[in-house]
């Protein structure tokens, strides 16, 4: 009996131009200076046999700005990249192997069979779970990138030299894309740094990444997005969005925001459960203080632990809210957290309290 172990990402899925289901791989690594604040660099890669890994690095200048800004607001507020927050988000996302390893659209081959003992089976399941965790790494939530308005030189002599702009790109292979020099000579003679959009476009021209188009496809327009949302294909749109845009670009954030809003409006939380976008969705809702819908959905599906974790996350992110302060004073755990939240913050208090009561009754019955 033959056994095929696929490498970490099935590369066959990326051939044939169908980029909607490409599986990206986001690696977090801690910076060397651990005694300062938790500096995190986020990388964004698409692993493919034939293509070079592209890496982004946040520039130090941007990093300083964001660090100083967040330190003004309130010290204990949790960030997306905190270990505790990430832990909660991964636990909430769940790990449904059947959904993560859904059949993707590719050339079918007959299946392969193996005769295994129970221990070997558990080993195989464990390996599958590890790969699933790898596939469920969340896309980064970064602050929006600042527009580039840097003018390098004003030259009146070159005015009217041509009707078109000239773009000069540094195509050295070993330069990271974020540090590449891309400058534009306008017909008016000014030499300026290229804007973010121009940068993305040109980098895609010289260093094409698989699945990314030079101009964004029309699916990301609002009216087309509406059609796609009606067909419940949020995950496909998000996958395509990740491939097309950079994680700190405005379009990326916009598409994500629209998707999350639509899901929240219709309560289609289950579409993203067990995918890598659930963390982003939860973070967005928690920041907007609108976790009622998600909480109710979890309670309806009897995911008590997830509901508790969600409220805990809410308290971490909004430490000055009523429920957080009450929880702090009462040192509440588990279902009491839910009760406190229901009492102080929620709009659907009745439903939440009823669900909590049924859970407690069930627990009492089972303990007898």
């Amino acid at each position: 009996m033959l056994f095929t172990t696929s490498p970490s990402i099935p590369c066959g899925s990326l051939k044939g131009g169908s980029s909607i289901h490409s599986r990206s791989d986001i690696i977090y690594s801690m910076a060397a200076s651990s005694f300062t604040r938790c500096l995190v660099r986020s990388y964004f890669c698409v692993k493919c046999v034939d293509h070079v890994q592209t890496r982004l690095q946040t520039t130090t200048r941007m990093f300083c700005v964001s660090a100083s800004r967040s330190s003004f607001v309130d010290a204990p507020k949790a960030q997306f990249t905190d270990t505790e927050v990430q832990d909660i988000l991964t636990k909430i996302t769940g790990l449904d192997l059947k959904k993560v390893f859904r059949p993707i659209r590719q050339q079918l081959t007959p299946p392969k069979y193996k005769l295994v003992t129970d221990t070997e089976l558990e080993e195989a399941v464990r390996k599958a779970e590890e790969q699933a965790k790898h596939l469920l790494k969340m896309p980064p939530v970064l602050p929006e990138r600042k527009p580039i308005n840097d003018v390098l030189y004003e030259d009146q002599m070159l005015e009217g030299m041509d009707t078109a702009k000239y773009v000069f790109t540094d195509i050295n292979f070993n330069v990271p894309h974020r540090e590449r020099f891309i400058v534009v000579r306008e017909p008016s003679g000014t030499l300026r740094k290229a804007t973010w959009n121009e940068r993305d476009r040109l980098i895609q021209v010289y260093f094409p990444k698989e699945g990314r188009k030079i101009t964004p496809p029309p699916i990301f327009k609002e009216e087309n997005l509406r059609v796609v949302f009606e067909q419940d294909r949020h995950e496909d749109v998000l996958n395509q969005c990740i491939v097309q845009f950079e994680p700190d670009s405005a379009e990326f954030k916009n598409v994500l925001m629209l998707t999350y809003e639509d899901i929240e409006k219709h309560g289609k939380y289950d579409l993203l459960r067990s995918t890598r976008f659930f963390g982003g969705l939860t973070w967005h809702l928690v920041n907007g203080r609108r976790i009622d819908g998600l909480l109710v959905d979890m309670l309806q599906r009897d995911l008590m632990q997830d509901a508790v974790r969600l409220v805990h996350l809410f308290n971490l992110v909004h430490p000055q809210s009523e429920s957080a302060q009450q929880a702090q004073t009462q040192q509440a755990t588990d279902l009491d957290l839910l009760k406190i939240y229901a009492q102080y913050e929620s709009n659907r208090a009745g439903f939440i309290e009823l669900a909590v009561q049924t859970c407690e009754q069930a627990k009492a019955l089972s303990s007898f």
């Binding site: 590719q106 007959p110 299946p111 069979y113 005769l115 295994v116 070997e120």
Partner: protein, 385 residues
């Protein structure tokens, strides 16, 4: 009454009074010395029945018909000439109450009368038209469903088998002809005795299928016999997910080898046309099969059924080896899907696997996978299977 197209003879029947009226009175001649004109009003046409006359015309049993000497094109078809005739209708157009016209009209008994000229013409014209229409309908060719090729009977459906003696119907079974051939047996009395042999397979598309051979002197009887006999020899064939076999099978019967390969959904039946027909009856939708050696259709059928009947389902394999059977699909990554667990629990020792699997390879497959195969049909893409 017999009315023939021969103009010379009159329509004379058995009724004496009719001839009495129809015959014109003989003219009064002066006695002549010349010989009397002999006029017969009855001949062999009137003295024989229709069946006997037709037997003479068709000449079905003669020296020419025996031993297959009869020509195919010179065959005449028997036609019932009494069709459309009513007792009482005649060329003169008389109306006989009780035969042509009603006996009672307005309470009183009718008397025989005659139709007018125009009306009689109309009636005869209508009869002619009706006869022409019957002829035309008989001559129209019904389009016969085409089997594997225009002339062959292979692959043609014969509908469901006939109901059984206790009233059981087999409506969900479909029967298909695999082969029709004429076989000869040398007997003592007639030298070569010809009979038709028909191989028919039946199946309901859900795993129950069977085949049988029927022999008779004419084709339709042979097909009918085979179709009904096949219902007595049914096999039940296990299918994986109702679309393919459980594993690759190589079954050999006499000098025919049939190599069958399991395929994924959507692959289609890429096999010998007889194997395609049989798989459709069984309900297998995706399979690759190669026939090596002899291509005798009966042997292919038997090899197929024996091979499929002796399949090892996943549950059987699990029980035999006492290990879990786990499936890995390429489109689902590394997810292990447990297909069968042994009923008595799995054993602790894992299966020993060699580095090089101990399977026998086929040179044709190796050539195809290496790309060395020089055949114009090797990589052809077909859209209809």
């Amino acid at each position: 009454l017999l009315s023939t197209g021969v103009g010379a003879l009159r329509a004379l029947g058995g009724a004496a009074h009719l001839s009495h009226l129809a015959r014109r009175s003989p003219p009064q001649y002066a006695p002549v010395t010349a010989a009397l004109q002999q006029n017969r009003h009855s001949s062999f046409f009137n003295k024989l029945t229709a069946d006997e006359l037709w037997r003479g015309v068709l000449a079905e049993s003669g020296a020419g018909a025996r031993k297959g000497r009869g020509k195919r094109t010179k065959r005449k078809i028997k036609k019932d000439l009494n069709r459309g005739q009513n007792l009482g209708e005649g060329r003169a157009g008389y109306l006989w109450p009780g035969l042509n016209s009603p006996v009672y009209r307005d309470g009183s008994v009718q008397k025989p009368s005659q139709r007018g000229e125009a009306e009689q013409k109309e009636v005869t014209a209508a009869l002619e038209r009706q006869r022409d229409e019957w002829d035309k309908r008989r001559k129209t060719k019904i389009k016969r469903e085409r089997g594997w090729t225009g002339y062959s009977w292979g692959g043609i459906s014969l509908g469901p088998p006939d109901p059984g003696p206790n009233g059981e119907t087999y409506e969900d079974f479909d029967s298909r002809v695999i082969e029709v051939k004429s076989v000869f047996n040398v007997t003592a009395k007639e030298s070569r005795k010809r009979s038709i042999s028909a191989l028919v397979a039946v199946g309901n598309g859900n795993g129950a299928a069977g085949f049988a051979l029927g022999k008779a002197a004419d084709k339709n009887t042979a097909l009918r016999k085979a179709k009904n006999r096949a219902m007595h020899y049914l096999y039940y064939i296990e299918r994986y997910n109702n679309h393919t076999i459980y594993h690759d099978i190589e079954s050999k019967f006499k000098r025919t080898t049939l190599r069958m390969k399991k395929q994924n959904k959507g692959y289609g039946l890429r096999c010998h046309r007889a194997v395609i027909t049989l798989c459709k009856l069984i309900g297998i939708e995706d399979m690759y099969a190669k026939v090596d050696g002899s291509v005798n259709l009966l042997n292919i059928t038997r090899a197929l059924f024996h091979g499929l009947a002796n399949q090892e389902t996943h549950q059987n394999l699990a029980d035999k080896k006492k290990l879990n059977v786990v499936e890995f699909r390429a489109e689902q990554g590394t997810l292990p899907i447990v297909v069968a667990r042994p009923q008595l629990g799995a054993r602790k020792e894992p299966e020993v696997e060699d580095d090089v699997p101990n399977t026998r390879l086929h040179w044709a497959d190796v050539k195809a996978s290496q790309g060395v195969k020089r055949s114009v049909w090797a990589g052809v893409k077909r859209t209809i299977w």
